[in-house]
């Protein structure tokens, strides 16, 4: 399997995401935001955490309009896989690849700590390695992770089983405790928690590792 990790000038989890993918056996290329094409034959695009363009405006708003994001959208439209973590999730909602938006945390403060999540669906290449209802501990680190969407969208996400992860103890005010959502074709995942920060023994927890191994296994099997 081959993945491209997008690098915006303010990305700061790009290396972390690449390392987690590589450790699962996935080949990774870093792609600069000014590039106008993705490397040929890419299966997955990873959009990492960070502060893409400083996020002084709406988080991810400028990144969503960068040259490479046109290509990311085209990749998704072709049925390609896209994983957006934290700022990457914000970028995906700004591009419209995922519904909803991320508002400032309900408590108005930045929060960085490991939080309990409930795996809400295993019907995706990202979550197959878990079991439904499984509680896992994954770090969050964000100021704007308060997921919001219209009632219709929330109902649709629930009825289509597109909520990937829910917070067991909602830290940021997210609607329906949503921590991560899937696209209608289940190939685009956006999540605020950082699975790449709980992916090896040194992290003190490995509950995020299955996101990457699930991905690698899905492609190995295909």
């Amino acid at each position: 399997m081959r993945a491209a990790v997008i690098v915006f000038p303010g990305s700061n989890c790009d290396r972390d995401l690449a390392v987690a993918l590589q450790n699962a056996g996935i080949q990774v290329e870093m792609v600069w935001h000014k590039d106008t094409a993705l490397p040929k034959g890419i299966d997955l695009v990873g959009i990492p955490g960070g502060f893409s363009f400083g996020d002084y405006l709406r988080c991810g708003a400028i990144a969503a309009n960068s040259p490479i994001c046109t290509e990311v959208t085209a990749h998704a439209d072709r049925g390609g896989y896209v994983l957006g973590v934290c700022n990457g999730f914000q970028v995906l909602t700004e591009t419209g690849l995922l519904p909803g938006a991320l508002l400032r945390n309900a408590g108005l403060k930045y929060i960085c700590r490991t939080v309990p999540l409930i795996v809400a669906t295993t019907d995706s290449v990202y979550t197959r390695g878990y079991t439904v209802g499984q509680q896992i501990g994954i770090p969050i680190a964000h100021h704007d992770g308060n997921y919001t969407a219209s009632d219709e969208v929330l109902a649709q996400l629930a009825s289509e089983d597109r909520i990937a992860f829910r917070y067991a103890e909602n830290p940021n005010g997210s609607a329906a405790d949503i921590a991560g959502v899937l696209s209608a074709n289940r190939r685009v995942l956006g999540m605020m928690p950082h699975p790449e920060r709980a992916a090896d023994e040194g992290h003190g927890g490995t509950d995020g590792k299955a996101v990457f191994t699930s991905l690698a296994n899905a492609f190995a099997a295909a």
Binding site: P9, G10, N12, C13, R15, D16, V19, A20, K34, G49, G50, F51, F53, G54, D55, Y56, K109, Y110, I111, C112, R113, P139, A141, H143, H194, E196, R197, A199, G202, H203, G204
Partner: protein
């Protein structure tokens, strides 16, 4: 625009006294221009020149086989083996943070990160040591919120994990908070970049963000006491842009790879002036600048303003002209300014031109090397009066008072606002002794800690200075790291008062002795004086930042206590109660002497811990709150109760030094006792980790209830 005339008032407003002005006249052989006066004030203020402290700082130990570069550069450089080096420094941003907490703290973080990547190192860890006034002072809550958000706002966006630090509260900081920011970076030992310019006629290049009017006169502001005109000083505080800093870091590290950089210096205090003079002075060269070429974000800036602006996220470098195109391309990629603003010249001259008009023309070497240096009068601090007797208190009640106090409650409210895990190499974040990170892609780890106990330093500057280093040493040993080197951030009051200068001199003596004996030389640092408001000084606060190494193949000590583990106390306990947390928080007293520090015992006991890491399952050093607080904190972090048999108050809460609390099983304890006997290290069993209560002497409380109290107190006080 006409420059103002040089009057006595103008000279005084620049913080230049009569003797210093006479020296300026002597150097110049004429009256200085307005811009020249500004440049002298920027270079000769306390913040930039260290004029009151230099003579004492020279006595500190700064060398050792591990030291690649000691004080004098942007940051210290220490060998960590395998051709790698850790580059680190701590620096204060006290005055600006009190005036404008968010931006003051944010730019403090920005400044220290720049110091590190200027040397060619990618920042990998940050810490911050904060001191605020008492909880109920009207400024405190606002300062706590602003400073913490500012640190988070900058560091989180930049992308460096905050792995440790300190937060304290004391009425002595009501009028002057302290914000001491630490950063460490990783570099190849053979590609460190220095500030000394070389080669005549080489381009001087301006990099990064544009210059504005923010921070004009900031360094001079930071070299004076506060009074009720403080609100007027707000415009002297700079505004930070961490996104630009992140790009500047990436661009600089890329640029360094090209071989284009001859020398480089970040623009911190006194901006363009200080960076240009530094590069010229160290290289024995002159510098000419053409200010109209400086990228500017405001219109009609004068030479004076440009030379004194402290706009952030800027660098100055001397470029290899053959590599200009390559260098420019890197800055284009990152959308940052790259402008040739001058050149190196052979004469000893600092020549500032603006639209072909000479605004300053001065002998460059006189600005830095010949800056004034004072041996200020000082008096040794008097020995404290003998301590009054301490009445007895129920140990659990005393523990509750401690763990719910602003000073000793958990700091999660603070550090959860910092990204503690970005870079995905954090092994131990803030909240438990030293922070530990992996050196990316290796089996090595680095440990970081920041420590000082200002009460001790006030009572006894020498012992207090020693203690700050000793506590840092212990925190590193407790995670199994070998202490490597130290950075000191010396925060004191007005050095023109002999008693304050006496505190400074005493603390330096103590720090020097401890660094010597514990083999952790000072490789960088910063002095912040004039932390006074209306004549009221802060507690003497020499913050010690220290770095330790866990070598490849060595296991760190990161475990927690388990049910059934024994609680072992390493080190001697005499029951020293003077200046303890117990006195301060429970009895509201600050009397008695600071605990004496036996540096040889510190060394022996620290080496013992490191040598026996394989049988030590959990370890913490004993400091404020003594055995009682250490036992509670270990129980709390481990989620298992603890039973301490000791009933004597002084033995439970005394703050004797050179001590550790260790948890391990019975067999491991046996091995430790044997090893301790051989190493002549005092060891005794003081209880057990068991159940779900905390038991001190005859008194007991539920661990869950205590933990909740400990964890929620900070938000209760300040949220």
């Amino acid at each position: 625009m006409q420059d103002p005339a040089i009057t006595e008032d103008l000279i005084a407003a620049h913080g230049i006294n009569a003797d210093e002005y006479a020296e300026i006249l002597n150097i110049m052989g004429r009256e200085p221009t307005f811009t020249e006066l500004g440049i002298f004030s920027a270079m000769w203020n306390e913040h930039c020149s260290y004029k009151s402290s230099k003579i004492h700082l020279k006595t500190l130990p700064t060398t050792g086989p591990q030291v690649i570069c000691g004080p004098g550069e942007n940051a210290g450089v220490v060998d960590i083996g395998d051709g790698q080096a850790v580059v680190f420094k701590m620096e204060s941003h006290n005055h600006p943070s009190y005036i404008e907490p968010y931006q003051g703290a944010a730019t403090g973080v920005g400044g220290i990160l720049r110091d590190v990547f200027t040397m060619g190192a990618r920042p990998i860890a940050a810490m911050n040591a904060l001191s605020f006034g008492e909880k109920d002072h009207p400024k405190t809550r606002q300062l706590v919120h602003g400073v913490v958000e500012g640190i988070g706002g900058y560091g989180n966006c930049f992308g460096v994990p905050t792995v440790g630090g300190e937060v304290r509260f004391h009425p002595a900081y009501n009028g002057n908070c302290l914000v001491n920011a630490f950063a460490a970076g990783l570099a190849d030992a053979d590609s460190i970049f220095y500030s000394a310019a070389s080669g005549v006629g080489r381009p001087v290049v301006y990099l990064g963000a544009k210059t504005g009017r923010d921070g004009v006169g900031g360094a001079t502001m930071a070299s004076a006491e506060f009074d009720d005109s403080i609100e007027e000083k707000r415009p002297t505080v700079q505004v930070g842009d961490p996104f630009t800093e992140k790009r500047l870091m990436e661009a600089c590290l890329e640029l360094m790879q090209t071989g284009a950089v001859i020398s480089i210096q970040d623009m911190g205090a006194a901006g363009l002036t200080c960076s240009a003079v530094e590069m010229g002075d160290k290289g024995g060269l002159g510098i000419r600048l053409d200010l109209e070429k400086v990228p500017q974000r405001e219109e009609n800036m004068t030479a004076y303003e440009m030379m004194l602006s402290e706009s952030q996220e800027r660098m100055l470098m001397v470029l290899d002209p053959a590599k200009e195109a390559e260098a420019r391309a890197v800055f284009d990629k990152w959308d940052l300014d790259f402008a040739i603003v001058g050149e190196t010249i052979a004469e000893d001259r600092f020549l500032i031109m603006h639209n072909n008009v000479t605004k300053a023309d001065m002998p460059l070497s006189k600005l830095s090397s010949s800056a004034p240096e004072y041996d200020r009068p000082w008096v040794p601090t008097e020995a404290p009066a003998p301590m009054e007797p301490v009445s007895a208190v129920d140990p659990i009640e005393a523990l509750k008072t401690l763990i719910s106090s602003p000073n000793y409650c958990a700091r999660n409210w603070v550090y959860e606002q910092y990204d503690t895990m970005v870079m995905a190499d954090t092994v131990e974040g803030p909240g438990w002794g030293a922070g530990v990170i992996r050196v990316h892609g290796t089996d090595k780890m680095l440990a970081f800690t920041a420590d000082v106990t200002p009460r001790y330093v006030k009572a006894n500057p020498i012992e207090g200075g020693k203690q700050a280093v000793a506590e840092a040493y212990r925190n590193l040993c407790a995670v199994g790291a070998k202490p490597l080197a130290t950075t000191d951030n010396l925060n004191f009051g007005n050095p023109e008062k002999p008693a304050i200068m006496g505190q400074f001199v005493g603390a330096i003596q103590g720090i020097g002795r401890a660094c010597e004996t514990l083999d952790m030389p000072i490789v960088s640092g910063n002095v912040s004086l004039y932390n006074e408001t209306d004549g009221q000084g802060i507690l003497p606060t020499p913050t010690i930042g220290a770095v330790g190494l866990i070598a490849a193949g060595e296991e760190p000590i990161l475990g927690r206590a388990r049910e059934g583990h024994m609680a072992l106390l390493i080190g001697d306990t005499a029951g020293h109660l003077g200046q303890t947390a117990l006195l301060a928080e429970v009895f509201k007293r600050e009397d008695g002497d600071a605990p004496a520090v036996d540096l040889l015992a510190e060394r022996r006991n620290g080496e013992f811990i490191r040598a026996n890491r394989d049988v030590i399952k959990a370890c913490t050093d004993l400091s404020d709150g003594g055995l009682a607080l250490a036992a509670f904190e270990m129980a709390c972090a481990s989620g298992v109760g603890v039973q301490i048999d000791e009933t004597d108050q002084a033995m439970l809460f005394g703050e004797d030094q050179a001590r550790y609390l260790v948890a391990c099983n019975f067999d491991q304890a046996e091995a430790l006792f044997i090893a301790a006997g051989q190493a002549d290290v005092p060891i005794k069993s003081v209880g057990r980790f068991t159940g779900n209560t905390v038991k001190l002497g005859g008194s007991e409380a539920s661990l869950e209830a205590l933990s909740e109290m400990h964890e929620n107190a900070f938000a209760g006080h300040f949220a």
